[in-house]
């Protein structure tokens, strides 16, 4: 079901994702971590492509990289001061957390390899999904779609409200 080419791509993407993930998790510099997030997103977007979710991959790139990453970097710089070079991102309680995470990954591994997943008999044909998604969003998924818009509107207004006043305060002080 997967071609060797895809296997190779999977390996490469996995390398990127793990490296980026480790950088996020362990790096002492916040800017490195923030940039590493980029790598992780790209890697996951690659997985999406491999899994035939082309539209999701695109959205992942657009939303995350175009939106969230920039937001992060802004925030990093705003909260730390642009001239501040020591953007430390230190960790606490690593000794307690490491075993926790190791146990977690072991458990998840056991789960993944022992569970009888719901697997279709035939492999999925990889085809563009954009049209189908657009269709579904306006029929079956109309309600979530509309609700999401309310949510985003509220988020927008709320975020602006918080940030706007924050700026004001800064001006005063």
């Amino acid at each position: 079901m997967m071609t060797p080419m895809q296997d190779l791509a999977f390996a490469a993407l996995s390398g990127i994702v793990i490296a980026a993930g480790c950088l996020i998790a362990f790096s002492r510099n916040l800017v490195y971590s923030a940039f590493a997030l980029l790598g992780a997103f790209v890697g996951v977007a690659g997985y999406f492509v491999l899994l035939g979710a082309d539209f999701v991959a695109v959205i992942q790139l657009l939303v995350y990289i175009g939106g969230i990453m920039v937001l992060y970097l802004f925030a990093v710089l705003m909260t730390s001061g642009i001239g501040d070079v020591t953007l430390t991102n230190r960790s606490i309680a690593t000794k307690a957390s490491a075993p926790l995470c190791i146990v977690l990954i072991i458990l998840l591994g056991k789960l993944i390899y022992t569970t009888e997943w719901y697997v279709a008999a035939e492999p999925t044909e990889i085809a563009p999904t954009t049209a189908a998604i657009g269709n579904a969003l306006l029929t079956e998924y109309l309600l979530p779609f509309e609700l999401a818009s309310v949510l985003l509107l509220g988020t927008l207004v709320g975020t602006v409200a918080l940030a706007r006043r924050g700026v004001k305060v800064i001006k005063k002080s």
Binding site: I92, A93, A96, S97, L100, V103, L104, L107, K110
Partner: protein, 705 residues
């Protein structure tokens, strides 16, 4: 129609009314109680009315067929629950008639006597109130037709005794003595109740649950052979009831309250602690003779305790200097004789001695009261002496009563005491143990004669105050009013109201015994034993009453009579001799045997032993329990908390959260748990999430296990 029998309720009611009139008057401070005349008029009238009715009852009974001289007057049902039926009912039979006569008669005399004795006391009205109440309770005791009625009276007289002993309550020892009397009596009551319950439920088992005397008499034979844990039921019941009697009637081991009870005013000592209340135990055994007759083991116990007490108390009497104490121990001793009599099955003799004792002991006490009053509240015989000339009437009556108590023919004491000793001796024929008891009785009789005449000698003979030097300076002088500053006054004779009573009682002490002349003497003159015949229906069937023996008087009975009179005379004479002529002898005796004297003088340290063994331990247990209650029971739940608190201190977690009011039941442990959990709330969201994830993982692992 028997007017007096039908209206027998008047007898207890009259003193009750007297009590109410004076009592309410005192309590509400009504004007009439300010008049002493009114008060004593009410009180004396009340008891006199009762006396008149008691006499009426006596004659009503006399007019009845001797075999059926029993009359029950039921007023109303008192407690009737389940199988328990106790009525408020009065029983008039020869026994209760005798008791009623003694109580009302002697009681009346003592009332009259008290008019003079208490004349100057601020608590005059209160005193008569209590006295009436006492008569009421005592009458209930002897008139009740069931054990519960008896028990009301039993406890009621205890209450009055408590109140009267502590009459001058401002002086602490008096109050303590009252308390002691009540509590020691309660120990007896404890056994009494258990005995009562046993009797009741075993009768219930036989289908005849009853507390009425007549009912018990009818059915008690059903219990013959019943056993409780290997012991004969009836013996057990008898012994338990007898323990009750040892409390009330001051026998070993519960006699200790009686000497202390002398703290009460002297008329009280005469009425309650000599003539009436203390004889309740004897009355009870007499009343339940049908039970005891079926329980020979119990009778042996009664007799033994009686004889022991008679002897034991008599010895203590040797070394007492307080005139009332001497009489008190004498009372204990005489009560012992009565029990000895009851214990040999000679119920009539016991009751007979009860009656004569009431006469002469009341007389003695009243005489001592007269002396005390004459000596201006002095009770120590060593300060007395030669009172013969100051107080002739008192002297004469006291002397007559002393002769009576010593058992010298033909005074009252002779007949009754000799009857008891003879019956005891006679019982020795069946059981050799009774010979021993008889021996003790005789010894006790000797002792009685000795210390009584010692008292007479010390008080009335010789010169006033000739022994005052014997009083050690450190001896605390106390009388019934408390610590006493000795002042010298000339002794004087008492007022008429007092001497009247003395004279009447003295006469009774002399002639009172004639109603019960034993067959052995009486048959020479064809004088029947009135007393025995009178009581015969009550004690019919009691095995000790040897009616059949009347026609065959053993020679030994005469020998014993002579013997006892002889030794009584001898010891009396000896006592008089020693304490008038050889005044140095007692002192030499003391120096010769200091320990023995001390032992006897301190009443064999029984009080102290009780104090150490019982009271102190009890108090210690109480303290421990109270501590237990505070620390252990209450702290049980706190216990975990305490442990935790300790460990938390180790952990350096000792802020005042602990002190902040969490000393509660669930308290410490919960608040510690809360505080620990609270510490988990670090304020770091990472930790929060850590705990969340850890929780999920823990549950996963739980699931996998």
């Amino acid at each position: 129609m028997h007017f007096f029998l039908e209206n027998i309720w008047v007898i207890p009611l009259a003193p009750l009314i007297g009590f109410l009139i004076n009592g309410l008057g005192c309590f509400l401070r009504l004007p009439y109680v300010k008049s002493r005349k009114f008060v004593h008029f009410v009180a004396c009238t009340a008891i006199f009315v009762a006396f008149v009715f008691a006499v009426g009852v006596f004659f009503d009974l006399l007019g009845m067929d001797p075999a059926h001289r029993s009359f029950t007057k039921t007023l109303y049902p008192w407690i009737s629950i389940g199988s328990l039926e106790a009525n408020v009912a009065f029983l008039a039979d020869p026994l209760s008639a005798v008791m009623m006569l003694i109580i009302t008669g002697v009681g009346f005399l003592i009332h009259v006597y008290s008019i003079g004795y208490m004349h100057e006391d601020p608590g005059f009205a209160r005193f008569f109130t209590y006295l009436n109440l006492f008569c009421f309770a005592m009458l209930l005791l002897v008139m009740g037709d069931n054990i519960f009625m008896l028990f009301i009276g039993w406890e009621g007289v205890g209450l009055c005794s408590y109140l009267l002993i502590g009459f001058w309550y401002e002086h602490k020892p008096n109050a303590v003595a009252g308390m002691k009397a009540f509590i020691v009596n309660r120990i007896g009551d404890f056994a009494f109740l258990i005995g009562l319950f046993l009797l009741f439920w075993f009768l219930y088992q036989q289908g005849h649950p009853t507390v009425a005397f007549s009912g018990i008499q009818e059915n008690v034979h059903l219990l013959e052979g019943a056993k409780v844990g290997g012991i004969s039921l009836l013996a057990l019941v008898g012994i338990l009831l007898f323990i009750g009697a040892t409390g009330k009637s001051a026998q070993i081991p519960l006699y200790v309250w009686l000497p202390d009870a002398m703290a009460g005013p002297t008329p009280v000592s005469a009425l309650i602690h000599a003539a009436t209340m203390v004889t309740a135990g004897i009355y009870m055994i007499g009343r339940l003779n049908f039970v005891y007759s079926l329980a020979p083991e119990a009778l042996v116990v009664v007799a033994t305790v009686g004889a022991l007490t008679a002897l034991f108390a008599a010895t203590i009497g040797f070394a007492q200097n307080d005139i009332k104490k001497v009489l008190a121990y004498s009372t204990v001793s005489q009560l012992g004789y009565m029990f000895l009599g009851m214990g040999t099955g000679a119920y009539t003799a016991g009751i007979f001695h009860l009656m004569t004792h009431a006469f002469f002991k009341a007389c003695l006490f009243l005489g001592s009261g007269s002396v005390i009053l004459g000596m201006h509240h002095e009770q120590d015989m060593r300060r007395m002496g030669g009172l013969k000339k100051y107080m002739p009437v008192t002297y004469m009556t006291f002397l007559l009563a002393t002769i009576a108590i010593a058992g010298i023919f033909p005074f009252a004491g002779f007949f009754s005491k000799d009857e008891i000793l003879w019956k005891t001796f006679e019982s020795g024929g069946h059981q050799y143990w009774y010979y021993v008891l008889w021996g003790m009785g005789v010894l006790g009789a000797m002792g009685t004669a000795f210390y009584m005449f010692r008292a007479v000698a010390m008080t009335f003979f010789g010169k006033l105050g000739e022994r005052a030097h014997e009083i050690a300076p450190n001896e605390v002088e106390e009388d019934e009013h408390g610590p006493h500053q000795h002042e010298h006054h000339t002794p004087h004779e008492s007022p008429k109201s007092m001497t009247f009573a003395l004279v009447v009682l003295a006469i009774l002490s002399v002639v009172g015994g004639l109603v019960g002349i034993p067959y052995a003497l009486g048959h020479f003159f064809h004088i029947p034993n009135f007393f025995e015949e009178w009581l015969a229906p009550v004690f019919a069937g009691a095995h000790g009453e040897g009616h059949g023996a009347h026609h065959d008087v053993p020679v030994i009975e005469y020998m014993l009579m002579v013997f006892s009179v002889a030794i009584a005379l001898a010891t009396s004479a000896l006592a008089v001799y020693i304490y008038t002529k050889r005044k140095d002898l007692p002192a030499r005796f003391v120096t010769r045997f200091p320990r023995l004297h001390r032992l006897v003088h301190e009443k064999y340290y029984v009080d102290e032993i009780y104090q150490v063994l019982v009271v102190n331990n009890l108090l210690r247990i109480n303290q421990l329990l109270a501590l237990f209650d505070q620390k252990v029971v209450d702290g049980f739940v706190n216990f975990a908390g305490t442990v935790v608190r300790f460990s938390s201190k180790v952990a350096g977690f000792t802020d005042n959260r602990w002190v902040d009011g969490f000393v509660n039941l669930v308290g410490n442990s919960i608040s510690f748990a809360g505080a620990s959990l609270r510490k988990a709330q670090t304020g770091l969201v990472q930790n929060y999430l850590y705990i969340a994830v850890a929780g999920v993982i823990a549950l996963m692992i739980w699931r996998l296990l």
